[in-house]
């Protein structure tokens, strides 16, 4: 996965559409979807390491990302979903 992790508030990002059989905290329904960074939540322990009791000295950056209901499912134009996602699972959106 890419090393670029510095996303700005308001920036649009795409959730990486990768499959992993190992423990990770990215819901399937958000993979490949476009969201907007709401805020940076700082560093947290990496659950992909912690789940296997592995050395975990490299915490990852967590972002709160907004997805519109319309983008995910169509229909309602107003409702939205906020999810907390690791920077490593997000990629910049090409203009």
């Amino acid at each position: 996965m890419g090393k670029k992790q510095g996303f700005l508030n308001g920036q649009f990002v795409r959730v990486k559409s990768l499959w992993s059989a190992e423990h990770h905290r990215v819901p399937h329904y958000l993979k490949g979807k476009i969201g907007q960074v709401i805020s940076c939540l700082g560093h947290v322990e990496n659950p992909e390491m912690r789940a296997y009791f592995k050395d975990n000295r490299d915490p990852y950056i967590l972002y709160r990302v907004r997805f519109t209901h319309a983008h995910l499912w169509g229909g309602n134009k107003m409702d939205e979903i906020f999810a907390d996602l690791a920077g490593k699972w997000l990629s910049e959106l090409e203009e």
Binding site: L41, V44, L62
Partner: protein, 208 residues
């Protein structure tokens, strides 16, 4: 062997006759080892089980009532929940980081954990079974309005529904809108109006 087909008793009654799930086998193995190796005692285990079972949403309700009663407390609570909950005298040292999201006339917040069942247990006690069900976790992100109607909560078409999916380390709870005509009510009386479901976002507080 009882013949369940012809027996008047339902098969579900004897739930402990079902074969153990893999996770349950692991739990039994770990528990028995911890007891055998004297890492924990039976008394300690039972004490913890009882403590967990007796947890309620009382802390959450108390915190919300304080926020309703005091606008300054509410502002500080939303920006720094852990410190303000500690200020009320609660020991938050073992509580995971908490975010309290405030409902407004324009935005109604709902909490879910689609990946598992993350829940602000310290504030709300053990999660209800439906919160952990696949149906709630799958449907609240997809059809929030319909699901809330099933809970008896109809959200106006002018109000945005914002679903928080607790996918990471933070736990979320909702600060519901304060009911009307509660002026000059004491915190203890306000607290009675706060329901567990209103702090998950699937219900409204009671009216005075």
């Amino acid at each position: 062997m009882a013949n369940y087909e012809t027996n008047h008793h339902t098969k579900d009654a004897d739930v402990d006759n079902e074969p153990l799930l893999e996770g349950e086998i692991w739990e039994v193995a770990l528990r028995e080892l911890l007891l055998l190796k004297r890492v924990i005692t039976n008394a300690e285990l039972n004490e913890q089980l009882n403590r967990t079972a007796s947890q309620t949403f009382a802390i959450g309700a108390s915190v919300i009532a304080h926020a309703w009663a005091d606008e300054n407390f509410k502002k500080s609570l939303l920006s720094n929940p852990k410190a303000m909950i500690a200020d009320l005298g609660y020991d938050v040292s073992s509580m995971p980081d908490l975010v309290i999201v405030s409902n407004t006339p324009d935005i109604h917040n709902v909490i879910v954990c689609t990946l598992c069942s993350c829940y602000p247990r310290y504030m709300l006690g053990p999660p209800p079974d439906w919160y952990r069900s696949a149906a709630y976790r799958a449907r609240i992100v997809r059809d929030p309005r319909e699901v809330l109607i099933e809970f008896g909560l109809e959200i106006s078409a002018e109000t945005k529904i914002r679903v928080y999916d607790s996918t990471a380390d933070l736990r979320y709870m909702v600060l519901p809108l304060c009911p009307v005509s509660v002026e000059n009510m004491a915190v203890a009386d306000l607290q009675v109006l706060v329901t567990r479901d209103s702090m998950i976002g699937v219900g409204a507080p009671k009216s005075p």
